[in-house]
Symmetry: C2
């Protein structure tokens, strides 16, 4: 059976790849940033905004949607596409990361993980089978296996045991998975230990899934260590399948993981920054609360074509942000998401032109030194 989701690599430049991700809800270009709609909405933005911003795949989170409003309700509503109004490709995270990062109490067994809901403290248990079923209810194009994301500083022994359990869970997810219009991706763990990353990769790839993610990074380690670890994993993943790096959304990090051969990545950062008044520009990240923007009648980013940059001045946005006006969150979120999506578009062009390394180095240089 042909996998419902697959990648077509059209160009490679060093490790960086440019291609097409085919899904039941359409084909999108890679590498690409995926905006995160944790609870079924990318904060402040409509599907129309996301389309205008150039979004390809939009994420939802199984942990949150399972607890609120309930994956059964989303299924009744016709799935997450129908419920949220986003008609393009979607991906749901399994909720593994949230179980381990949000829950104050949890109990991990071979069978699964019991945890207290972050909403009301009620007890729930996620098993590979339940999470697979929940994601089939959500009906995204891509579902993720249930994984454990070990705590920061966990030992080699802990990680070894954990990654083996995660691999066994991945096999159970695959066995439980029935939807032919949905792809189930595996997740490589192993912390910062090269031998364990290798083992996790081999075990996960051995299960034979239509795509693979690298998890457990960008969770507190330094950027150098993250990239070093990723560089031992990403290029070893099967080249004919999509590669997803979980949790990166800052412009520099995006360019770095693309350089290591990643096709897809997600993060709440662009929208979260916006809600704190921070905007992304080619000349660096700026804080709109800074006094120098109070009378700045220029646009946020001269080269950006989003509604925010073409319709409003920095002075107006700075005013909205200072006054905590809802419209400020919305307009800056729209810009930041548009910005990282446009950056990915440029990156694809650089890969296709065979000049990714020089282009990305120059982009990062300007971003980090311009001091907007």
């Amino acid at each position: 059976m042909k996998a419902p989701v697959g990648i077509e690599v059209l160009a490679q430049d060093g490790e960086a790849r440019a291609g097409l991700l085919h899904t039941p809800h359409g084909t999108v270009e890679t590498p690409m940033f995926m905006p995160v709609g944790t609870k079924g909405s990318v904060k402040g933005l409509t599907p129309g905004d996301l389309r205008a911003a150039g979004a390809g795949v939009v994420l939802g989170n199984t942990y949150h949607l399972y607890l609120r409003p309930g994956t059964d309700l989303v299924r009744e509503a016709g799935g997450l596409h129908s419920f949220t109004g986003w008609t393009g490709p979607m991906l749901t995270d399994s909720g593994g990361y949230q179980v381990f990062s949000l829950a104050k109490t949890r109990k991990l067994t071979e069978d699964g993980v019991r945890f207290a809901s972050v909403y009301d403290g009620s007890t729930h248990e996620f098993t590979p089978e339940l999470v697979t079923r929940a994601q089939e209810d959500l009906g995204a194009d891509v579902a993720m296996v249930l994984d454990e994301c070990p705590p920061n500083g966990a030992s080699h022994e802990y990680h070894a045991e954990s990654l083996r359990r995660t691999a066994r869970w991945a096999a159970r997810c695959k066995a439980a998975h029935t939807r032919e219009d949905q792809a189930l991706f595996g997740i490589v763990q192993g912390g910062l230990f090269p031998d364990l990353r290798r083992e996790s990769l081999e075990r996960t790839v051995g299960i034979d899934l239509p795509g693979y993610a690298v998890g457990g990074l960008s969770v507190g380690e330094s950027r150098d260590v993250m990239l070093e670890t990723l560089s031992t994993v990403a290029p070893e993943l099967p080249p004919e399948k999509p590669r997803y790096f979980m949790g990166i959304g800052d412009p520099v990090g995006i360019l770095q993981v693309i350089g290591l051969g990643v096709d897809m990545f997600d993060c709440v950062l662009p929208t979260r920054l916006a809600r704190h008044g921070a905007a992304l520009t080619r000349d660096g990240r700026i804080n709109l609360k800074n006094a120098r923007f109070r009378r700045d009648l220029g646009s946020l980013d001269e080269e950006c074509s989003c509604e925010t940059c073409t319709g409003y001045s920095r002075a107006y946005l700075a005013h909205l942000v200072r006054e905590n006006e809802l419209l400020g969150d919305r307009l800056v979120s729209l810009h930041n998401v548009t910005f990282v999506l446009a950056l990915c578009r440029e990156a694809r062009g650089a890969v296709r032109a065979g000049k990714y390394e020089a282009w990305s180095a120059a982009w990062i240089q300007r971003y980090e030194t311009a001091g907007a």
Copy 2:
């Protein structure tokens, strides 16, 4: 000199009127609700949203914009139209109401009123001349005179003195007003005293301004008393000039003031309700947090054509509202504003058809008894 803003009454039915308000930024149909962008944005909505909702005139508030970001900055930005991106007609309130309702300390003299800023406690003084100048800087199509809105329960004596001062201030505003592309409207005060309302009306109309507002109502008195007082004032205003009732935005109140001959009215209610999860429908106001909407896959209002009603279910909106998602505030705000604007459109049709009283009574009956 021809006034830059004027009304053309096309139909009258009882006291209710239907017509056209001509302004430098376009002609809009009356009677109409004016969405309020207190600080330069109608909370959560863009000018594009407001156009889609059918908005005619949009309000800004001089008190807030004077203090933040400063009317000098708005002037530098080319005025409130250019600053906010709303290209249709605008009206700015003088800030009189806010000085008297928000300030913890204030000192009223014949010259003006000193007050402590609600933002930082700094001391400011509003005089008729300053407020006129500030509104010329903002550059709305309609500016309002500086008025005093006396405290609830103020005596006949207090109101008498106050309305006379407000009339003297109105004359000073007119003398200070220079912009030929902006109309200055007067404000009738007088509390709940019929004799004082009459006196205020005579004094204000005596100044000869291009439009008149009724102020100091909808500030805590019962709806019956409000309507009774308005009924003694509105029909006595010059029929050839626009009549503006300050501060009403609930559907029933809107229909009632239209029935008394009002052409324009404003209120933050539709957007404020939305931020509390309350939506307006033909079958009454509903609270989306109510359990019965959790699994309701129908649209908010079957007959409404807004993006919210055509794109999302009650269940999805209820989920967003419960989770305090920004998108919930935005989508329900868009609906509520669209709803009251559509109600005004229907009201205009009823006036033109000569059946306003029966139509509005039936509408109110359904709204108040359907129990959506």
